[in-house]
Structures are given as C-alpha cells and as structure tokens.
Symmetry: C2
Subunit: 648 residues, 2 copies
C-alpha cells in the first residue's frame, strides 16, 4: 500500500468547513475483518457482476446506440439506467483507488470512453431524452431523472478526480461540461425547476469542492431552495413524494420517497455547510433527530411503504413488508456522515454503524452476485430462488436476486463498500477520531503538521476488543487526542492504555458517546477499547404499534433474526409457531446467540377475533439459535422474523 | 308498495340450484331503520350525485363521442370508466324496482339510449378500444377491462330484466348482443384468454339465468377454468394479482387483487352451482374459510396492500394503512351470498352482516355524496377535507371524497344499497330464513304454494330485539319453519313465541348459528328474537402480529373506534396518546359506548428501541366515548384507531 497525503482527501465528501475533517483512502485503509472481507467480495465478485449485467441488459450499450444514431429504437432499460453506469464508474474509481488494479483501470477507461462519445457538443448527456422520437430535454422533470443521472455522473467524476487526480481519462471534463449546461439551463435566470429525484444537489456540491468552481455550489443551493415550491406536478401520493411539498428549511422530518429524501438531505447539508447557512443546518439536524426517533427501523433501515417506497407517518414501522430499501440506507449514511463531519455528534456515527451492519451488509449475497432491494423484517412465506439470469421485481422480499428491472441497489452497495475506508476516521486540530471499528492502518497529518500513525487490530464484531497501536513513525513528544466512539448500546465499556513497555497507564470507564485519550503517543503504545458484547434484548417504543409485545435481540452492532431453518429443536418449521419464553435471556454458545422459545399450538382456524384469553397454547421451552440479520436467507428459502413476540 | 310473485325473484342472484331460494324485492321490502335510512339517502343523494359526476367527468359523454366519431380524441376517464355507467344503471334499475320513481325511470331510459347508440353492429361495446387511434379490440386483456365492463353491463341488464321484465328500453338486448360476441370471440374454439379483472364470469352466469341461454353459462365456465393457466402476462406483483397463478379449483385461499379475487370467486360459485360441480364448490368453500380466518379485518374488510390493492399473506393484517377497499367488500358480499344460497351456512350471512355494517355503511358520508375508497383501521394524521368539485386519489384514507380518478366504489355502494332488500331473506320447501335484521315486510309463497306473510319490527342494531309478526293473509293450518340467524357474537340469545292472544307459546335459548320456529302461524303471532347487545371486547388471534396487545370494542354487528375528537376529557388530542386502562370494560351510557382509557406521557424522542420496561407513563384513567366505525370522520379531521392498546 502506498499512501500519500493530498490536500483533498481521497473521500466522497470533502466539505469546505465543519467540525471534523474526513480522512480518505490516502489516510485510512481497512485491512481485513468483517468489512475487509466484504470489500474483497465487492472487488472480486460484485464489480464484475455489475459490469456484466450492464452490458447484457443493454444499459451501457445504450451509450453506443446514442453514438450510432440508433436511439431511441434500440434503447433498453428504464429512464434512469444511465445512472447505474455512473454508480458503477464511481465504484470502480474507489476500488482502483484502493487496489490500483490494472484490469479495473482498463475497464474504467473503456466505459468512460463510451460515455464520453455519447455526450452532445453542448454538454448534454442522457440516452433517454433529446433525440427524434424521444421526449425533449427537461420535458419530464417529475419522472425523467435527467438531472438525477447527472448527479451520479458528478459523484463518479469526483471519485476519479480525488483518487487519480492526474488521470487523462477525461471524466472530470465530461462532468464539468454537463454541469456547465445545467447551470446555464437551471441557473437563477433559467428554468425554475428541480429534478423529481434529488441527487444532482449532492453531485454539484461535491463537484464544486473538487473543482473549486463555486458556480456549481450556487446551482446546488438553487435546487435545494426550489424544493417545496410545487414546481413539480402533483401526483397520487402527493408532492411530498418528491420533497416538493415543503421548503427544506421548513420541514420537520424526512418524508416521501425515502431515497429521494435522504439524497436531498445530504445535498442540503453540503450546501448548508459550504455556504454557512446555520439555519438550514439546524433544520436538517432536527429532521434527522425526528426521523431516527420515529421513522427508522431497528436495523437502521428507512421507508415503510412498498407503494411509493416512502417513509410512513411517525411510528408507522410495520415489520411485515418493511420496505427499508437498500438505497435508502445508502442515502441515510450519506446524510448522517455529512452531519457527523459538520458537528461531530457520535449519534450520527452510531446510525451509520447500525445501517452498515444491518442493511448494507444484508443486501449482497456472500458471493456478491445477488442482492436484496427491500429488506423486510418479517418473512411470512419462504421465498423463491431467482434464476441467475433473471431480472427480478425490485421489491420481492424473498431471496436475494441477481438483478432487478430497477437495479439501483447493487451499484449503490458497490460504491459504498469500495469507499468504506473513508468512513472510518476523521481528524481535527487536536487529533484523530475513530468512528467505525475495523482492522485498519491510519496514517495522516494533523492541521499543525504533526504526523499521526496507528494501526487498528480487532475482530469486531466477533469480540468487542479494539486495539489501537501507535506506530514508530508517529512518535512525537507533542500530545494529541485519540477519540473513540462508544456506541449508545455499549454501556459499561472500558478504555485502557498500555505503554510500549507493558505498563497500564490508564484504565477507566468509557461512557457512551465517545471517549478521549490524550497522550504523547510513542511507538508501541496501545489503546484498548473494550465494548461489552453480551447479547441484549430491546423493546420498541410503545407507539410503534406494529411490533407491540415483541422483543429484538441485538449483540454489538448486529441485529439478530429468528429463521425457520434453525427451529429444528422445537419440532416446528415456521417462525409463526414459536414465541419467546417469558423472561427469556439470550446467551452465547458455540459462536452463536441462542434464545429460549416456546412452540405454539394453534387451532384450525375460524373467526380470528374472539374474547381475550384465547392465547395459543405454549409447550415446553427449548433453546434455538438466532442468525445475524445480515446473514438471513443464506441457507435457502425460509421464514424469518426480527421482532419476536413474548409468550403470554 | 305493489309486490308480485314472479317465477324469477327481483334479485341480483337467482341460481338454478342450491339449498336456499333468494327472495327478491318482490317478496321483501326494507321499510326503515338503519338500512332503510341509507337506502333513502342512496336514492335521494347518491344516485343524483353519481349521475352528475358521470356527466361532468365525461364518462357518460364518452358514449356520445363514440356515436359522433370523435373518439379517441375527446375521451376522458380511465380504461374502465364505461363500467361505472353500467353500475349506475344497475343501481337505478334496483331503485326503480323499489320505488317506481318516474324521474329515475326517465333518467334510466335516457342513459340506456346513449349506451345503445354506441354499440357496434356486431355487438361490441366499449369506448376505449377498437377505433382508429385506439388499441385493437381485446389487445390488452391484462389491463384493458373490456370484458370486465361487459360483465357490469350484463349485471345491469339482468337487474332491469328482473325488475321490469316488460320494459322496452332494450338494455337486455344490448347485453345479449354483446354476450353473443363474447361467446363467438372467446368460446371453446376462440381466443384462449381471460380478462385481467374478473367480473365477466358473474355477469355471464346471471345473464344465462335471466335469459335461459346456457351458452352464457358455458362461456362463464370457460373463463373460470382458464384462470391459473398463465394466459395473462406476468407482472411485477405476479400473476396472482389477476388470479392467473393457480386454477380456481386448486387454490387454497383468496389472493392477489382483493376485488378481482372476490368477483372471480362469486362467478366461480355461480358456475359450480349451475353446472353441479361440487368439487369446485367445495374448493371455494375452503378458500372462503381460510380467507375469513386469516385474511380478513375485524370490520369484514379485505385487502392489506395499498400497492396492488391485494390480500396479504395469512395473518398479514396491518391496521395502519389497512386497504380494505370498499369494492372488495362488495365483492365479498357477492361471494358470501352465493355460498349462503348454495349451502345455508349462517357463517356466510354473519360475514355479510359484519361487512355491511362496517365497510359498506362506512364508505358513504351521511349525505351520500362523498365516499371512502379505502377503509383504514388506524388514522395517524388528521385528514384533509376534499373540495366538493375535486377528483381525489383513490386511497387517500383521510376524509371521504366526492369522487375519485378510479371511482368504482361510489356506484358499487349504490347498487348494493339499492338491491339490499334481496339480501334479507330466503325460502326453501320448509319455510323462510331471515338472514339480516331490518324493519321489513315479507310476502312470499313456499315451494308447495303455501303463502307466507310477516312483518319484521326492530330498531336493530340500537337494540337486539327483533319481532317477526305473522300477518292475517298468511294464516294457514299447515306449519312452516321460520329460521332466524343468531350471529356468532350473540351468545345467550333467546327466542320467544307469543301468540296473537298474548300467550307465551315458546321461550328458549337460541344458540349461535340459527334458531328455528316451526308453527302453524296465525295472524298476530309474534316471534321475538332477543340478541344480547352489551358491548364486548375482543382480542386478535396471536398470529395477527400487527395488532398484538390490542383489543377492539364491538356491540352487536358494529365495530367501534376511538376518535381523537372524543378525547376531550383526557386532556390529550391524539389517539396515539391514550391506551385502554387494564381490565377496562366497555359500558353503555346515553346511547354511546364508553371505555376507560389512560393518557400516556411520552418522552421527547431519541432512539426508540431500548431495554424493556421503559413503558410510557400512564396517568389516572378517564372514560371516553367510542364511535361506531361507520361513523368515524364525520366530525371533521381526526385521528382514529379501531384496535386500542392495553396499558401495561
């Protein structure tokens, strides 16, 4: 690994201001463990799989057809299929930044060349609009996704510019030409419109940061401010679907389409931070608070409705058909990460951790070639394994599927995993903050020029022990502060400092939130954070009606599920036929988490609403193992539930 | 009122065989009370309202445009808008049958004339297909609704033929010409297709009964048998949406789109009965059993999903966003009524009663000019009153709306109310069966020629006392049997016979199901059924996860709801902030049902999944009144819940 210190971090988000400075791939490398394994699968399996499907589905060939002049006749894919190509490019860019893989570099350049060839002389780039037989440019802002696609193009170009600033592939220039067109068309004197799917905002803001061209930030600001003024047509689900019902700064909570809402919030945070708009930033923090308190699943997933892929009302969080779209979680991480950088509140990193372990890690299959689009918390009927060559309905919450007609989630997972090193740590004038725990190498320079170098050793979340080992080249006489996040669930955590000579220099409680260790670190000094990892039971707020009377088992950052394939000992074969034994306590044994359940005996049916007291009959209790939610449905068709009712 | 005895009853359903013979408008008239009031509003308000909107929305003028040759340019409305005109005609026919209203008769004839003019020479009739610029006939069986529309035409024609057999309006001939075309096109040697929305089956079966032409029955049979053979294209929600996933006789439960499923089941029952297909009939009974046990709301409503307006899996019955489409309940009544006629099982009449009181009566506003399309069981946010001139999104479960883009429900309610007299009673060789309780006059002739005449006096469901008074002209020395349904909830009911001279001839318990009184009735003899009407609390089957830990209050056939506008005494203004006091018992006072609740104090928010025991704080209990569910949202915007959690 060769790591350089650049002025701009090799990271997806590089705000002009903020409490914390992100550390990119140039400063942090995940070297293995839970996330390192998934990054390896992403590189070896998922990127190849996505590239192959983009070809076979025709979504990448659409760019070739544009050049050949055979659009729209030959066009395949939905109106937003260009964006999957751009997310794939972004994922490739981050992976090349990590691995310097020559084959991926060749692939990246080949795809960029095909995209470049399709760009119009004035900068316009879209395979769905603008040609004879197609809709006119910008003629369908509600559903056309033109600006949305460009937002993803900009993010891809920024990823490339930050990881290979001297590359001559031309992607940044493609993005700039398109962004210049957007500024001309949609500037203060241009069309008073917004895109029906937010994304251009976050793309423009980051492009401004990557290029230093503030026109793009101003255009992002205009798009943010135009939301909530009803410039989009009303639809059956209301303008809140597009977040065009209320100005961003006047809203109280995220609402409408959950991916759109999170992408918009991420872009609005970028604009608020870079323009110094503290009123807007405060509004976004309040919206995050209420959304997390009232509209978020225990997995971190967001979005309750299948119909409009949208947030429900406060407390409307059905486990049944929980939509919890994978992309909404990617968007939630984008939003939380920006708020974390802006203010340093560890609650934002807590939600990122929860979402990473329980949605992002849940979506891909172990081989990285099949995905969940929706992430239900309750599977009532065993799913059906999709044929590897099939294109599946997006929200079939049965088994992971290789590809979808709307296939936004696979490349979104891919770009998130490929850039995950950049979500591990940040720096400020006083030191370095560790937000996520993975085996890692961290090498950076503080604002005053002090060099900091340490390694992280951990098998988290197998155990809760995180060891931070100072390395020789970071030794200095000047103290700096290592800040370690202590998740909200980690009551009773402890931190210890053991010096290179084996002396215990510090040993104290680490209260939830974060713990600071300030020292003149020397090579071999070790900071050990010990997070309590006993499995724990949690109950929902009583206002979450859908899971009243149920408990969830968690251990560390992982949410657990009861899956029918583990019910052998009970003699029943469906999670609907067991309940937690009263006062059951989860235990660990043989590397698994076990809970005591009682098989239920049900009568044969009849009118199901009868006088109270007719509880299902419970038999003798038996121990059954649970599975981490992110591992469910990996052993064939099954039924599953995260929230387990407590037997009367 | 002039009542005649005709060979075919003035009723929507007249099977060739079956356990019970329906009594139509010619034999039974509702004379007031709960349903009589609603029939009066239907006649005076709803029919005028529907007629006016069919004109202003352009759905009736589409037929004029067809004649003028200006289709498709001027066409308005969705692909199924013709069917609303036919349902309106059916409602008019039943109402004319009841009231002999000259203005309605004139209106009926004028509408029929406009429809007639649009019929093609070969019998084809549809304003959406078949002309230059329109899709070809039968080119979109999945979504085109051509056969569906004709099914409603046939039901309208049958209603007219049975209520005005000698009328010269020509509607029956229009229907026959269209049906003949369907038989030519889709017969055994014709197109191997079905309609994406079942309805033609029930229409053809009844047209066969009304005309004596068995070709129509055979065509209905063909359509039934073709379901489940995948002749329709697959869609995102699967072929079960159309019930094209499994042959009707192989299915175990209703599934897919809830209106389609019920209409298909009703048509399949007609075919099974008239062709003597007991295997098919048994399959339908089993499907009804499981659907009622596992896929039906406490209101009788069916359909859990907004997205595809479909049944959920077994036990998937969220109160939140319960879809419970009004039309699905009309379909459920159609299906249950046919099974009741076939076998006489009072459970089918029980479900009809529950569905009538808690869905059909819930949909229309008191003035009959606004409707619920979906009937949620939990309203979390106060609704918004629709402008009287607005066309609303169909499933906005806020306040009743005057019209919808998809406006199937208003005319479906109208035709059900106008024909409701025909769902009150049946006859067999031994006597008469009363299934629904309303003030009514019953005059009929048994199979052996004995005349039966009685009046029903009751204020049910205000009280549970139903008095059946034998009338002079029915006096006979030969005994006959009066069978009275005793609803499943009416444990402890009693039946008494008081002769004309005041003597108590019988006084005994009436066990749930039904009770028989066999006598040589004389004028003035009174049978009194006394149903216990104390409010009662019921709990859901434990497998209905969404309402675990909650209870519902019912009284007689009515389900009750807690509405925010009644919470004044608690000091809180939202149903989310109260719970039932432990061991609370509902009581009646001042004509209302009251329950003891405790106001809940919630903290300010934060992560909502925490260690058990953090229940919301409960204050002192207070009595609040409930409202019959069918009356909710009649006092302005409110929040509401049917299932009320029990405080810890």
């Amino acid at each position: 690994m060769t790591m350089q210190t650049t002025t701009t971090p090799q990271a997806p988000v590089a705000p002009a201001h903020g409490r914390l400075r992100p550390l990119g791939q140039d400063a942090v490398r995940i070297t293995g463990g839970f996330w390192g394994d998934r990054q390896a699968v992403n590189a070896a399996g998922t990127l190849q799989h996505i590239g192959s499907r983009l070809e076979s589905e025709g979504w990448l060939p659409n760019f070739d057809l544009a050049v050949a002049g055979t659009l729209p006749a030959g066009r395949r894919g939905r109106e937003f299929s260009d964006s999957e190509v751009y997310k794939y490019l972004e994922a490739l860019a981050w992976e090349i930044g990590r691995s310097d893989d020559a084959a991926l570099e060749e692939r990246f350049r080949a795809v960029v060349a095909r995209v470049a060839a399709a760009q119009e002389p004035d900068g316009y780039l879209n395979t769905m609009f603008g040609r004879p037989g197609q809709g006119a440019r910008w003629s369908d802002l509600e559903w056309g996704h033109e600006l949305y696609c460009l937002g993803h193009l900009f993010q891809a170009a920024v990823a490339r510019a930050r990881t290979r600033p001297d590359a001559d592939d031309g992607l940044l220039e493609i993005a700039r030409r398109a962004a210049d067109l957007v500024c001309r068309e949609f500037g203060a004197d241009g069309r008073d419109g917004i895109c029906g799917h937010a994304e251009i905002e976050v793309g423009l803001a980051e492009l401004a940061r990557a290029t230093g061209d503030d026109r793009y930030l101003e255009q992002a600001r205009l798009f943010i401010e135009r939301h909530g003024r009803g410039t989009l047509r009303d639809i059956e689900w209301g303008r809140k679907y597009f977040q065009d019902d209320l100005p961003v700064r006047d809203a109280e909570v995220l609402r409408g389409h959950a991916v759109r809402a999170n992408y918009l919030s991420a872009g609005a945070t970028d604009v608020a931070v870079d323009t110094g708009d503290t009123e807007l930033l405060d509004a976004l923090r309040r919206q995050w608070d209420r959304t997390v308190a009232r509209r978020t699943y225990v997995t971190g997933g967001q979005g309750s409705h299948h119909q409009d892929e949208a947030f429900g009302e406060d407390w409307e969080l059905p486990a049944d058909r929980a939509y919890s779209e994978t992309c909404a979680s990617v968007g939630s991480i984008m939003f939380s990460w920006r708020l974390l950088l802006a203010g340093g509140d560890p609650r934002h990193a807590d939600l990122i951790e929860r979402t990473l372990y329980n949605v992002v890690a849940t979506s891909p299959a172990p081989d990285g070639r099949a995905f969940f689009y929706a992430n239900t918390l309750h599977q009532r009927v065993p799913g059906v394994l999709a044929d590897p060559d099939t294109t599946s309905p997006r929200a079939s919450s049965s088994l992971r599927a290789p590809w979808f007609e709307v296939s936004c989630c696979p490349p979104n997972v891919a770009r998130t995993l490929a850039s995950l090193d950049a979500y591990v740590a940040t720096a400020d004038a006083e030191g370095v903050q560790l937000h996520q725990y993975a085996p890692a190498i961290v090498r950076t320079t503080l604002d005053d020029g002090r060099r900091v170098a340490f390694d992280v050793e951990t098998d988290y979340p197998v155990s809760g022990l995180i060891r931070v080992i100072s390395r020789a080249d970071a030794a200095t006489d000047a103290p700096w502060t290592l800040t370690l996040r202590v998740p909200a669930w980690a009551e009773g955590a402890r931190v210890q400092v053991v010096t290179a000579d084996g002396a215990v220099a510090e040993d104290r409680e680490a209260t939830t939130g974060s713990v600071e260790v300030r020292r003149a670190f020397r090579a071999g000094d070790v900071v050990e954070l010990d997070l309590p990892m006993a499995p724990r039971l949690n109950a929902p707020d009583e206002r979450i009606d859908a899971v009243r009377g149920c408990l969830v088992v968690e251990r560390g950052p992982e949410v657990f599920a009861l899956e029918s394939v583990d019910l052998g000992a009970t003699g029943v074969d469906d999670v609907a036929a067991v309940a937690l034994a009263p006062a059951a306590v989860p235990v660990e044994r043989d590397g698994r988490v076990w809970i005591e359940v009682v098989p239920l005996t049900a009568d044969g049916g009849g009118w199901p609403y009868t006088a109270p007291g007719g509880a299902l009959e419970a038999a003798a209790s038996v121990q059954v193992p649970l599975v981490p939610y992110h591992e469910w449905a990996e052993r064939g068709p099954s039924t599953m539930r995260v929230w387990i009712p407590v037997a009367d």
